[in-house]
């Protein structure tokens, strides 16, 4: 499983990119995207997916 970013609600602040422990988040064509191959939903690393916990727009959600 992996998370995704709802592009329409994303403010492109980059807070998620800085928190992701797997370097799964990057900027693509003006918006941030999560690479599902790298995303672990932070299982075994943190209590909850870091992108979702920090996102001010609450737009990081299960894919």
């Amino acid at each position: 499983m992996a998370y995704k970013i709802k592009a329409a609600e994303c403010t492109v602040c980059g807070a998620c990119e800085a928190e992701c422990p797997n370097i799964a988040i990057s900027m693509k064509k003006g918006t941030y995207v999560i690479d599902p191959a790298k995303c672990t939903e932070c299982a075994g690393q943190f209590d909850s997916p870091q992108c979702a916990a920090v996102c001010p727009a609450d737009c990081c959600v299960p894919a």
Binding site: E9, T11, V12, C13, G14, A15, E17, A18, E19, F46, D47, S48, Q50, A53, V54, P56, A57
Partner: protein
Amino acid sequence: MGNVIALDGILGLGELKAPAEIPAAASGCSSSACGSSDGPGDMPPEVWEKVKNHPCYSEEAHHYFARMHVAVAPACNIQCNYCNRKYDCSNESRPGVVSEKLTPEQAVKKVLAVAQEIPQLSVIGIAGPGDSLAAAGKNTFATFEGLQKLAPDLKLCLSTNGLALPDHVNRIKDYNIDHVTITINMVDPEVGQHIYPWIFHKHKRWTGLDAAKILHERQMEGLEMLTSAGILVKINSVMIPGINDEHLLEVNKAVKARGAFLHNIMPLISDPAHGTHFGLTGQRGPTAQELKVVQDQCEGGAKLMRHCRQCRADAVGLLGEDRGDEFTTDRIEAMEISTDDTVRRQYREHIESERAGRHAAKEAAKAEVAETVPSDVAPILIAVATKGGERINEHFGHAKEFQIYEVGLQGAKFVGHRRVDTYCEGGSGDEDALGTVLAAIADCTAVFVAKIGGCPSTSLKEAGIEPVDRFAFEYIEESALTYFKDYAERLRQGAVTDRKGHDAVLRPAEALRA
């Protein structure tokens, strides 16, 4: 030198006469004894050196020096009920709002471009639009690194909510950042839970009391670390009626006890159209007099700042003006950029040479009022139309804001500003705009202008506010004191009545970029 002369024109310095003769010793009152609103006599010399050219830390400097915010820090680590990070409108002015986010490289280039066109520029700040220290402060410190190399004469400062501050104090010291602003709205988590729905800390989202408690502890820790490192700290507090208005006295005491240099109490900016929690739930901001009452009550505590314009995270220019539109990325890309700081240095030397004379002239005017005006005359408020340079040099109809001075036996003191819609658009008067001006300065006895038309003049008089153009292009404080002396005499004769009981409307500068 060509640029310096042009600049004098902008500020209204060149066209004006020197201050009236200055007595060698102002009678019985040195600036250190009388506590002028902010001057070299009020603080240790090393502190004065740090603040004298910083428009946000020195009320006096804000008449002469410009600041610039570069919007390189979009990420934030907390949510505040007065902020909506999705909202980004070029016609709105408030912290947290920008039109264009910049990379550190773009930001450095923009600073150099602005510095070569605005020699008053003395300070570069990073204030968001998120939190400058969120996301490990990566962009913030990369920008400071570039600026330190290419424009070492510019002061660097940053604003933060304080949550990540304790982790970054050493880097702040490394980059010689000697001014830091922390937004502290509460020192009690019971109050804080109504302002902060959540924070992100130690890899976890915290809510409610826990969130407010952690934030409070981190803010106090960061503040103490900064002040013990000799860094000047300004505290910003947003006054939210019914939530933290009375509590701000406690905040003032707490930050003073920890060595804060300045406390800036700002009114909540709240509008449903902003989509903030407070905007949508109808939480109102304070009126002008409500704000002033809290500011006055805090006056004995940490030094109070009243000239804040709550500017955008990408503002450019003197406080109260925003020239950000002149420096778009496209235009900067096309500009020839130089790192020559000669004109800036000449401007600073010019201001430095004027200062001593200014301080003496203010003291002399104050002493005269103290001698001649009876002690039972209450202070009055005066609204002033100014473009900067401490002069009454703006036309009533062109003013985007009025500076408010409280004048009394203690002297003339800047106590705030009121934003208005420009009355004169394209040569004709706008009656709706006049209504906003009257509401914005309704608690003032007089309005000082360089010039004013017949119609607005009549409306002002009908509203009981005296339009005054006889001090056109003179210095504000001396003129205000001269007016007060005359006012006291007219009051004695029963020719005027005081404006006790009048209040005024505070509003954000939605028209600033329109």
